[in-house]
């Protein structure tokens, strides 16, 4: 493995040295300094907006991780067709390899190749030439690399939305289509702070609440959702061509919050009833609801992820049956994060 992996890892530095990056910037995320280098103007325009809220001018120490984004195909040793794994690739299955040193991910759907070398603190992501990055990638760039890097540092990249008020955050979990983004975005437009609508970083620490960190400034909403009840002030970056797909937008920068302590977990369920219903549930129920999407969205290091998830979920957990009236749903979130402890409608 060392031989094969070592050769692969060498490709990051070799490729990075061969380009003159158009855009180089630093972001500070959960105590780590990341340097991001993007090869071309076109790629930078697509990827950089998601990180603008994390940008820092500090360069007083070496970056903890340097990520280089290439506007070209991966070098030959990283081509899927070069490996026995091509059989998986040709049947539209992604290829992942991971060990203590690093991670390789070849995405069958987009052709994007991500490689992390934790030993040299370098990562490379090859998007292909003239890449028109899909909406879900532009809204969450370098997802695989960040997941593999942060889990090695005791932090979990969690599939879920998060909002905050009164210095406390709610994590909104559930499978795709559960209403996470809609709830988070509408809350953000009603005075809540926004940490993310699809992925956030969780960092439990002994003796203090788990911190929730914003990773991406971006968000995604279904066109149908936006059409049924428009939300003012959203900066739409890419509108989905298909009405069933999601559009990519940037929330108002003033509503972005970088970090908040976790106070509660909410699992929304689309019931479209008159009055929203809040049910308190045991942490194990919430963990069971979160695990499928957390583990299936970003695979690898599952034991560590389950450990972090169970530590983070040591807060009140609720199911929220959503009303068709968005204002009433937001009012429930307001009660959860209010000054006084909340009594749920029913325990389950």
């Amino acid at each position: 493995m060392a031989g094969a992996g070592g050769n692969l890892f060498d490709e990051i530095g070799r490729a990075a040295r061969s380009i003159d990056a158009f855009s180089v910037f630093r972001v500070s995320l959960a105590g780590h300094e990341l340097e991001i280098r993007i090869e071309s103007e076109d790629l930078s325009a697509q990827l950089k907006p998601a990180f603008e809220h994390l940008e820092t001018s500090q360069r007083d120490r070496q970056a903890d991780l340097t990520i280089t984004a290439f506007d070209r195909p991966p070098p030959e040793p990283l081509s899927a067709t070069h490996w026995l794994s091509a059989q998986n690739h040709q049947t539209s299955q992604s290829v992942r390899a991971m060990d203590e040193r690093g991670m390789l991910y070849i995405d069958s759907l987009t052709g994007i190749v991500s490689l992390l070398d934790a030993q040299s603190s370098q990562a490379g992501v090859w998007f292909g030439p003239d890449a028109r990055v899909p909406i879900w990638i532009a809204a969450a760039p370098f997802l695989r690399v960040l997941d593999a890097f942060y889990i090695r540092n005791g932090k979990l990249l969690c599939h879920g939305a998060a909002i905050a008020k009164n210095e406390r955050a709610v994590l909104i979990i559930g499978p795709g289509g559960a209403g996470k983004s809609t709830l988070a975005i509408r809350a953000c437009c009603s005075g809540f702070d926004y940490l993310g609508d699809d992925y956030v970083l969780l960092h439990p620490s002994a003796g203090s609440p788990t911190n929730v960190f914003s990773i991406y400034r971006s968000g995604k909403l279904a066109r149908a959702d936006l059409a049924s009840a428009p939300i003012a002030g959203l900066d739409i970056q890419q509108e989905a061509e298909d009405p069933t797909e999601k559009s990519y937008f940037l929330p108002n920068p003033e509503s972005i919050r970088l970090l908040a302590p976790l106070a509660a977990i909410v699992q929304p369920q689309r019931r479209l009833i008159d009055e929203p219903r809040l049910l308190q549930c045991p942490a194990s129920h919430a963990i069971r609801a979160a695990i499928p999407s957390v583990l299936s969205q970003l695979q690898g290091c599952e034991q560590r992820k389950v450990e972090i998830l169970t530590r983070a979920f040591d807060v009140p957990c609720y199911q929220l049956h959503l009303s068709f009236d968005h204002r009433k749903n937001i009012a429930v979130l307001d009660r959860i994060l209010g000054e006084n402890a909340l009594a749920a409608t029913t325990d389950i």
Partner: protein
């Protein structure tokens, strides 16, 4: 006889009186409560099955035979579900030193949920060799 957990397929964690066990290759999730969670903790801490059964027999002298039978059935279910392995390489070499609190014995049950499997099939990912890295053709 001892058992271990194949961590390339199984993740587990105990919270309070419930052990959560996830087979992330098959997309199945198991909930083990009360005595089932205790037994899981003891087995994955490398306690030999005979020692574990002696422990529960001595805790429940009046129902010793029934308790042993229920534990053996439960262990067989864990093995059949591929949650426990007899492979020595998976044995826990650094078991938790804290003694596991045992409550009143209740019939150990393995509750299975398979709502993860559909999600995993949406995004299939395959490790390409047993060591993780691809092998070059030829």
């Amino acid at each position: 006889m001892r058992f271990g957990v194949d961590k390339t397929r199984i993740a587990h964690q105990t919270i309070g009186d419930e052990a959560i066990v996830v087979d992330f290759q098959m997309g199945t999730y198991f909930s083990l409560r009360d005595s089932a969670a205790e037994i899981w903790e003891l087995l994955t801490g490398s306690m030999p099955v005979d020692d574990l059964i002696s422990l529960y027999r001595s805790d429940n002298p009046e129902q010793a035979q029934a308790v042993e039978s229920e534990i053996r059935t439960f262990i067989a279910e864990l093995v059949a579900a591929n949650l426990l392995s007899r492979d020595e390489s998976f044995f826990n070499v650094d078991p938790q030193q804290t003694p596991i609190k045992r409550g009143p014995f209740s019939k150990p049950l393995l509750e299975k949920f398979d709502d993860m499997s559909e999600l995993i099939m949406l995004d299939p990912v395959h490790d390409v060799t047993e060591h993780g890295w691809p092998h070059k053709i030829g």
